[in-house]
Symmetry: D3
Subunit: 194 residues, 6 copies
């Protein structure tokens, strides 16, 4: 079989990209050993690329009351709801790595109610899935339930904002047919990986 396309849209050669976009892509390659296809496929539109990753970093890289693994759980659970192959596979890998747990990503993707998570994380994902599926029904009672699990209002904004950002990301990936890199499937699957 031919190498499958990673997008319905043209993937620009690195040399044709604006400097800042190319620099970002080379940096991630340096760090990860490969370039996740989200970078290559979204580079088709540099201005949107910049806003996308600025938003991503503002949510996923900053200090937060949520651990980085928890943030990835939100991505995996809500992306599974949306049937987004790229995000479940890629962020499933990141979740395995960040949680140092080879089982968690598949559990969360299939049914977070059966996953090896704490009641606090269960409440977090219940809320994220409500925001993903029917945000118009969010109300005071949701804030109260989350507070009872120790989440502060800034944490709740984080859960909502990550869910909202990947609502965007899932839709783009689904429409353009973004294909996950083969590398992601195996990442972090070895027990006791570090």
């Amino acid at each position: 079989m031919d190498t499958p396309a990673i997008s319905r849209y043209p993937v620009p050669p690195l040399g044709t990209l604006p400097d800042d976009v190319r620099t970002r892509i080379l940096a991630v390659q340096e760090k990860s050993g490969f370039v996740p296809n989200v970078f290559l496929t979204l580079a088709h539109r540099p201005e949107e690329f910049r806003a996308f990753f600025a938003y991503h970093d503002a949510l996923m890289e900053k200090e937060s009351g949520l651990t980085k693994a928890e943030r990835e759980m939100i991505v995996v659970a809500t992306s599974a709801l949306n049937g987004c192959q790229y995000c479940v596979v890629a962020h499933g890998a990141i979740l395995r790595v960040r949680a140092k747990n080879p089982l968690l990503a598949d559990q969360v993707a299939i049914n977070h109610r059966k996953a090896d998570i704490t009641p606090r994380q269960r409440a977090m994902l219940d809320f994220a899935l409500k925001v993903a599926a029917e945000s118009g029904k969010v109300g005071d009672e949701d804030f109260e339930r989350l507070r009872s699990h120790g989440f502060g209002d800034e944490d709740i904004w984080d859960i909502a904002a990550i869910t909202a950002f990947f609502a965007l990301s899932n839709r783009m990936a689904n429409v353009i047919g973004m294909r996950p890199n083969d590398e992601f499937y195996l990442l972090g699957r070895m027990p006791k990986s570090k």
Copy 2:
């Protein structure tokens, strides 16, 4: 009645905001005569604010095969699906103004199938609503239908990206309880307004 809150979260005084954020807000006030609450409420997090409006402008202000009115139709139709009061009211106003049509926004919000739009615009909104509700089912047949109405692949990206961006925006507005400014309700409602 007291003035209702425009957000569950604190709204920062203008004087405390980073310069670029404040400048943007003052510019919109200068142009519109009031500050839409999306600016004030999202300023609670300046970094996300910057990414949000950079994304917004990249989609809504640029040249496109879609008219500005058509882009607003997408916002109104998909935001109504998501029960987002802020986006339907605010972008309904912008749609009325841009389309110079006082009826269109309400029609599109309630049921785009009954709106005074062209078959091409109907196909555009059918697709946007599919992306909003079940993007995982988007496939070749959707691209083919849109092409048969004269949309090019870049136009399709535009439809998808606007829908995706407001998927994010609707979820944030719903969770933080963003309240539309009273001014929006009446804007553009006078017949033959210009």
Copy 3:
């Protein structure tokens, strides 16, 4: 553009209508200054016309524990659920007038949970939407919740019956393609209108 049709079905000339139907139509024109299209389009079948408006008046014009504005809220909220352009636009106008509130109709149509209404009215609309969407699940617990907000059993019948009547009305309007009069869109939108 040509004047759009107000129905898929023929609209009978006033002169051809039975006396009682014509008299009713002339009376509403006298009172409102225009004839709402629901009268003209349903006059296609005089016998159903008579039963329709007899039912309507029995619910909407009588004394009730619900104010007239509250009854219109029920119409707007449930008609929005059903995607009925005619009823949301026409009864949205009546709601603005009866509540002397230019914002309320759009709020209730988009998402009653975010509207400027009392907790009692919120419970009323929650119930109306349940009756509209899944009446087979109504049970004692719904009656108890409404009673806890001060509704008596006759009030509950009123909420249910108004919802049920507009379930009929919405379906007819959607099938025949009933178009709202342009006049409705602007009615009651001026602040402090009286």
Copy 4:
């Protein structure tokens, strides 16, 4: 067991009813041998009672391109969708009698796609169920499909109006807890009944 209530609401003694309502009830008792509970339970509100049965008769008793059995099929199929015990049981009985077929009502109630009906009747029920469940999506293509099966536009109005009227009826029956008379369950079940 005590006799179960036939409504959550008081059932008025015949002697207290307005003359026209009582006369109607006595007539149906004379004809059927018992009084269907819909008459007794809705008599709680005589004005609504009158409008209800006027509407009912305008649709169900008149000349039509649909046979009386076909009209009952519409009632049974859409009432089953709405989980309305009264309407499925009572109109199931009437359908058996009118179609002289002891099997048809249960078939249509459970799954009209598997019922012993003609392709034309299948198209009729497909449309009725669409009107019952998502009338906002009805469009030209529905009219075309029905016309291809020989339905005229007045027949289509009939299908829609019967569905719409029982949308009302189902909701009232579900909310007030209208109980079907025991007599209905067995009516028309004998093979070759006449």
Copy 5:
């Protein structure tokens, strides 16, 4: 009309069947006076036939904390949800016979919330319908509710297993177009039948 087919698939002549399958079929004919079509249609695949009826008997014939009538209620309620004509008609008959109640089966099929059952049976059917429709959401709170109605854990397994087995059965019947025997429709409908 010709005799309608009882399956999309060939129905094997009795003489061609393996001895054990034929013996089972003759035994049921001896006992019931006719052969329910589920035996004839599934005999198309003897190995699956054997497993199907072994499973069926393990659940439906054994001693249990659920009465035989209660087990049939579960079959009727969940099969109605799945639109399975065969199972609702055939097991509706068995339910009428086992409960010695000519009304119960239709009530449970249309809307178990309105049926003449105990609160304990209502809780049983609520759970069965959750298992049928969204088993992935079953959790501790469901077990607790059932225990509060006096169900033991083995009873809960029974409810779940009967629901699960008929999830299989409904899907097979729906796909192969299994037709209920005419005899079932009338069985057990006489009041005080024994």
Copy 6:
């Protein structure tokens, strides 16, 4: 953390099991190197255990027009729809092994429309998911579409029966909280594994 339970129900010690059940379990341990938890957890009820595995083997081990990998695709896709952690993880592993493809199982579980499969397999899974979610709507048009992809009627029975059997299996696993063995997560993930 303690070893998590593999079922809400007691897991019987091997020594207490009937001979045939124990023998089957020891055979699978011999072959696979571990005992999949479905054997241990369902052994709680030996009679149901026997029927379950007889059914399973009749469908999954026999000669068929579907390859063994294709049969596992059906299991994975429909079990993901049902949120069944055990079946997606365990049969995902078997699918990877049987298809000699480390990527396919995750793709099919998340969104079969984006998986590396043939159009024929896509049609197979579309049908399986329809049987899983709304079997009451299956009709002639589904058989025709499958035949156009080269499936014979016995193949279609196979697709339906596998889907139906795992409809049962998913519901049992979800209710009893069946936990997948850790071993499954990594099985078959090495590229070019054999």
